[in-house]
């Protein structure tokens, strides 16, 4: 038969254990919350990464169905030649635009091969496409834009991408 002192000791020990357990539970709860938040935060990144890689892998796997788009070199942004061409459309393309012209020719070649249609994606490419098409429309004869297989440009602003100010121009092929 335990004495009164033993019983008191036992009660105190149990209460102390209870306190410790309660603290452990609170710690676990806070860890759980933190782990959950971390897992949630990582999910969009991981799934987006999967998507991006899937798209790239698909385009690598099926290159014959590729559709080209004009992509201008970085220099076009700083180049005033876009403005120049508005006033002098027949002016030979500027040195800094050479890469853009090469790309445009490549697009035209692919179009002839029935392998592609052209569209410009992004600000730099859009600038080039607009300039090429504007020159054609003004002179009334197909020149630079024809190289790229472009006849007419249409702004196709994507609502969902307005936040990143992405502008896609769809260029209709001849």
């Amino acid at each position: 038969m335990p004495s009164l002192k033993d019983l008191r000791n036992r009660i105190a020990a149990t209460k102390a254990t209870q306190k410790i357990t309660k603290a452990m539970q609170m710690v676990a709860a806070s860890k759980l919350r933190r782990a959950q938040a971390a897992a949630e935060a990582a999910r969009p990144y991981a799934s987006r990464m999967d998507t991006v890689l899937g798209n790239i892998a698909a385009s690598v796997a099926a290159p014959t169905r590729r559709r080209g788009f004009c992509k201008a070199p970085a220099a076009i942004r700083a180049s005033p030649s876009g403005l120049h061409r508005r006033t002098r459309p027949v002016r030979p393309i500027q040195h800094r635009d050479r890469a853009a012209r090469t790309r445009a020719r490549q697009c035209a070649y692919e179009r002839r091969q029935k392998r592609s249609s052209s569209s410009a994606v992004g600000r730099r490419a859009t600038t080039v496409a607009k300039t090429l098409c504007a020159a054609d429309c003004r002179t009334g004869r197909p020149a630079l834009g024809a190289h790229a297989g472009l006849r007419k440009c249409r702004d196709d602003r994507r609502e969902d991408h307005r936040a990143v100010r992405q502008v896609r121009i769809r260029c209709l092929a001849h």
Binding site: Q25, A28, Q36, A42, T51, L53, R66, R67
Partner: protein, 83 residues
């Protein structure tokens, strides 16, 4: 060379279900690749170069993604055992 990641899945709460997923070579979701709606982009640098850079990173991300659920479950189990 091929690699399979074996991790625990918790579809019904506490019970862990061991699951195997092939990560090398990577398998991509068909739904994800259709997102561009047929439009295919030309990449700069070349798509191969991008893949070369991103695939190892993606490997780490996918492993971390699988592992990130485990501390959550262990804390959850601890909590429910006490409660």
């Amino acid at each position: 060379m091929s690699g399979t990641l074996i991790y625990s899945r918790f579809p019904l709460g506490d019970r862990a279900i061991p699951t195997a997923q092939q990560i090398i070579p990577p398998v991509f979701d068909a739904k994800a690749t259709n997102e561009l709606d047929g439009a295919v982009y030309e990449f700069e640098p070349e798509a191969e170069d991008i893949l070369h850079e991103l695939l190892p990173r993606n490997l780490a991300v996918q492993i971390l993604r699988r592992c990130s659920k485990m501390p959550r479950r262990s804390s959850g189990a601890q909590m429910s055992a006490i409660g």
